[in-house]
Subunit: 213 residues, 2 copies
């Protein structure tokens, strides 16, 4: 019997990190159950969740009796345990391209904090209005555009040849600007919008108040 897969997310479907793990599972065609926790009610703070997840945050993945938190760790685990060719490849085979994908995933999770805060996923998934960027927010937005422009080579459709999970992560980060009408070069906007047409991403968006613009 195959061990069941359960992905723990939050009730509002607003976590970009749950998004990453969700897209990985969908791209790989893996059957899984979504368990949404009410963070406002503190469901993530109960020992039944903190003990196995260790971090007490979403996302966490349960695979049989094994638990792992942190979306990049979840994404990599799923790639290793459900590898190509039986399941879609989400990390490149070449170590250097794989390093680039990991670099993009790490950047998305640790950099341009002001963009992530001032252009929260509430503006994407909950219909919240975006206020004008602060000066610090504008600096971070400019940094995001500059760095993303180096991640995505001119003429390239993805950061590492074929679609990888880094494209889902980077597209969501860019949509914080694109979707809210902040300055963003056309080729990055086109990239983000094309990634957001993927069926895996559409399945996420269906759970939210996202409206194409």
């Amino acid at each position: 019997m195959t061990d069941d897969l359960v992905l723990y997310g939050n009730k509002g479907w607003t976590s970009p990190y749950v998004f990453s793990a969700f897209v990985t599972l969908k791209e790989k065609g893996l059957p899984f159950r979504m368990e949404v926790l009410d963070l406002q009610a503190g469901q993530h703070r109960r020992p039944e969740y903190t003990e196995p997840s260790s971090t007490g945050r979403v996302p966490a993945l349960r695979h049989g009796d094994f638990w792992v938190a942190e979306s990049s760790a979840i994404d990599e685990y799923l790639e290793e345990v459900f590898p190509p060719p039986a399941h879609a490849r989400l990390y490149p085979a070449d170590p250097r391209q794989r390093a680039r994908v990991r670099m993009v995933q790490a950047f998305v999770r640790s950099d341009v904090l002001e963009v992530r805060m001032e252009r929260s996923t509430a503006t994407l998934f909950e219909g919240a209005a975006a206020k004008p960027l602060t000066p610090a927010g504008r600096v971070a937005a400019e940094r995001l555009v500059a760095v993303a422009g180096r991640f995505l080579a001119p003429g390239a459709e993805h950061v590492a040849g074929e679609f990888t999970i880094a494209d889902a992560d980077l597209a969501l980060l860019l949509q914080r600007l694109v979707h809210n009408g902040d300055p963003c070069p056309e080729r990055l906007a086109v990239y983000a919008q094309r990634v957001f047409q993927r069926p895996s991403v559409r399945e996420w968006l269906k759970q939210t108040a996202w409206r194409d613009r």
Copy 2:
């Protein structure tokens, strides 16, 4: 001819992420050159650095003509390109243990921000005095202690059996509390101090104003 390895760090030797890549290179016994950039003078903002590194941050690794930034991406690249048994193993062979190591690395890089800010590496590596933690700092410190206590099973010497790069990262994060005399359970303090006895870590510490306490 073997491609040369160059690690880009900052002049003050204060980056916990350069530390991670440095320890990886040292643990694997890889010859490399350290290039320290003067961030205050903006050396990292010159196109000669931003273009190949993409992120314009330290650390970046140059391996021959290949560049990668983001320490977790660098660590994983080095593991893949200089694998065991010829070089020390820094990621577990088992996918589930490897997932735990990635979870710890991701947590260190994205969580407990207030600890990282109020107990900056200046207090470890530049002799700076630590001010009392703010209320938010105390909450983050308590979270760090709680989560680290789940990462490190009772009686375990490392988070995943043998030493991995996650132990170096987690030990440095814990030393922000331990070294500054903040509350920390004995077993986590012992763990952090034991990791800090490793020759790879000692080679880093020699470059700084660190003094054992």
